[in-house]
Symmetry: C2
Subunit: 275 residues, 2 copies
Amino acid sequence: MNRQNPCRVACIGSGGVATSLLQALYHAGYSITQVYSRHLKNAAALAHKVEAEAIDNLQHYRDDADVVIVALPDDTIESVLPCFAAGKALIVHTCGSLAMQVFEHQGIAHYGVLYPLQTLSRQRVVDMRDVPIFVEANTPANTIFLQSLAGYISKNVSEMSSEKRLQLHLAAVFACNFTNHLWSIATDILQNNKLSPALLRPLISETLAKATAAKHPQEVQTGPAYRGDKKIMQKHIKLLNNNELQQKIYALLSDSIQRSAINFAKFRFFATFAV
Amino acid sequence: MNRQNPCRVACIGSGGVATSLLQALYHAGYSITQVYSRHLKNAAALAHKVEAEAIDNLQHYRDDADVVIVALPDDTIESVLPCFAAGKALIVHTCGSLAMQVFEHQGIAHYGVLYPLQTLSRQRVVDMRDVPIFVEANTPANTIFLQSLAGYISKNVSEMSSEKRLQLHLAAVFACNFTNHLWSIATDILQNNKLSPALLRPLISETLAKATAAKHPQEVQTGPAYRGDKKIMQKHIKLLNNNELQQKIYALLSDSIQRSAINFAKFRFFATFAV
């Protein structure tokens, strides 16, 4: 296949982020040179899709790419960086909570970050055009280059510092990872009582629609804790008596909801007089 | 307006549940007799929409309805029940966590529960046809009657015991009230860092879509806690150092996610050998 884009991309990693980014770049006309994974099978599966070479040994990295995307878990990234020292490629990582500083003192001239804010898996296709991508680089020229590259993937690209990216990732952990865990607990409660998890779907969708339509989700907070209904809260905690951890989660989140409700009411009270 | 349905409904309460149920019944041709609220203005706003009389004193209840919907907060319901003693109407409450037993020894002959599993507000119109409604009554005849009435509102009606309804409500608190609070915390983190809350929307939608598509949300759990990435978790907790409650929530939910991940892996390991 004749690649329209002269830029060549290599990728270290073959998970959800690597798969989503590489496929988007490939479809945008970029040439993909190599895909590395510890497991050759995984590297080969992705490499096949983007006409690249699969490798499972970083010593086989050819240093002929313009950009190397290191899409590995945060805590393994530092260990692979020496492979790219003294090379000419722009090396980027894709993590939310890893500062760009990780590249310093590694002998790498061009580096940056390309962080797609989405939960990406190998199996599940996501429309990358709608995924916000945040870039950061060590020089203005590299920043512009990364913005242009990310612009081939998504229509929502912006520059963001490491500090802000960390805060954004923290917010995402609350809004998504923790939320998914609460849905998981809810599913367990339903299944333990032979009730279908599908029963909650209209309620979950509407809760999200309401939170999104509001200026702040706090404005549409409901439930026993918000109303301060101690009788119901006690009933619920009693019902969880075979699971101490879930009891603690129930009590702590209810406490937090009640405090937020009081603060929110205070804020509105003072806001009324501040006009 | 000529009402096609001979059944007459009164309503105690004028909040989100009352408004949604009464409007749906009114549009299905039911006659609405009276709407009560402590605040006449609220009663009048709803009564006007459904051609009913507004009252703010329960002594003005006329006892000419076939069904009285008591759509009040759980902890206030018991106090209004004496008004309906010795009447002939079927009295129902609409709460998730209040057992049907609340009607016992109140001198009420016909009673039951009509629980719509949805977050309903006065202002926001929800398509009630999709809202699951769970009914329970003190006699088979009353159950059939309530099922028929609820069938005019929703296409998803089923009978459910008080015990199961309580479990369902508990699951809903985790899946919706607590989830909304986590979105609220995420929004605070973003706003404190001058980042737009809209940034997280594609991620939240995809997280929900993934959880819904999976057999169990646990299967699609991701994030630092799930991966056991202690470095990131420590960074995040440090970032929350001006908010001890949020630090506790972060630590507790991360702990719970890690334990669930271990149990889930164990379960899959044994399930492989159990075949």
